[in-house]
Amino acid sequence: MKHRTFIWFILPSAVAMLLFIAAPIVSVVFQSLYAPHEQVLVEVENCGPFGCTKSTSVDQNATQQLRDEQPLGRFVGGAIYTNRSHLAFAEIGDAWRNSDSVGAFLSAVMNLPFYSALAFTLAYTAIVTPCAIIFGFLIALAVNTLPRLLKGPMIFFSLLPMIVTPLIGALILFWMIDARGIIGSFIQYLANDPDLSLKASTPLTWIMLMVYGIWSTLPFAFVVYYAGLQTVPQDTLESAMIDGASRWERIRHVVIPHLLPLTTFLVLIKIMDNFRVFEPIVSFNAAAHAQSLSGFIYQDLSGETQLLSSAAATSSDHPRRLRPAFASHHARTSVNTAIREPEKWPA
């Protein structure tokens, strides 16, 4: 294809990608260097027959003027990335200086929300991905040897954990691992501890989430491998059998090399899927013990939205509430700026 023709061919896609993928990313990165303006506060002294009282309110006009002059907010550079809620460079430096051992340092780091979420997400991905792929492969091998009559029902039941909506599947297991549920009771019996609760311990919660992750994602690996097994060349397998290869040797030298491209595909897909783990933590109500990066981002952004919504609601409501006070009293004002927490503003 000529270069000119090729350029015209990809131009629509390139423009769409620039507009809808690259531009929003650049915009978000640019906006992340700015923070919302601080509220301009007004200190009002109200004097009446019984003396004077001081109260603080938001100067809407000054705040609006500030926002109009600098609509992006105030420039903070990389401060948002490095603050305690995110990369927490200062806190990590403090922890390194003040820790007596590596264990104490890691313990301090794990108290930081971003690193706690990162640790769980990496552990979840590192354990669930290989386990789901290996067990999926073994089940596919076993199902492939079944008589034709049994294959259909077996495939159906094997796919159940994946077919059912993740939230429902997780909720079902959540009930069963309850201290009064059948799995929770069975584990209490095995551990000989009637007070054992899977939901009350951080390590047990992590294990529970990972077991659920393997259980729910294993069928995908199974069905992909099962499809791949139908394409293994029978001639090669028969040749290996004639040469005296055992079943394990046929799997090792014929089946696994044939399925290697599928394994690469599965590894990539599963890593991406598991890195985005979110629903199980919600369904298992496990946010107190485990937090994933997706959950962390959700909480971070939804908290920001709530903050802005709260600020907007309070800002729009505030002048109306203050009007009678200004009307009935002599007011003297002085202006200063400060950050106020929206939830502490007058309701």
Partner: protein
């Protein structure tokens, strides 16, 4: 073959158990002192007069906020 049977139980038991439990009252579904209650519906019989009930939605499911009818907690 044993491996497949174990997997079959692991894959399907939670759904079958919950399906069975959905026709029982909460006391049977969470009857940890004696799981035979969950199988035979002892509490369900006491409460509804039958070992199966279609009103489980008002028991464990509503309390666990599954049915969307609001929480009792």
């Amino acid at each position: 073959m044993e491996f497949l049977l174990i997997w079959l139980v692991i894959a399907s038991f939670p759904f079958l158990w919950t399906l069975w439990g959905s026709f029982k009252v909460e006391g049977d579904f969470f009857s940890s002192p004696d799981w035979a209650n969950a199988l035979y519906g002892t509490m369900t019989t006491v409460e509804t007069g039958s070992s199966f009930t279609g009103t489980a939605c008002g028991g464990a499911w509503v309390q666990e906020e599954f049915c969307g009818g609001g929480s009792t907690r």
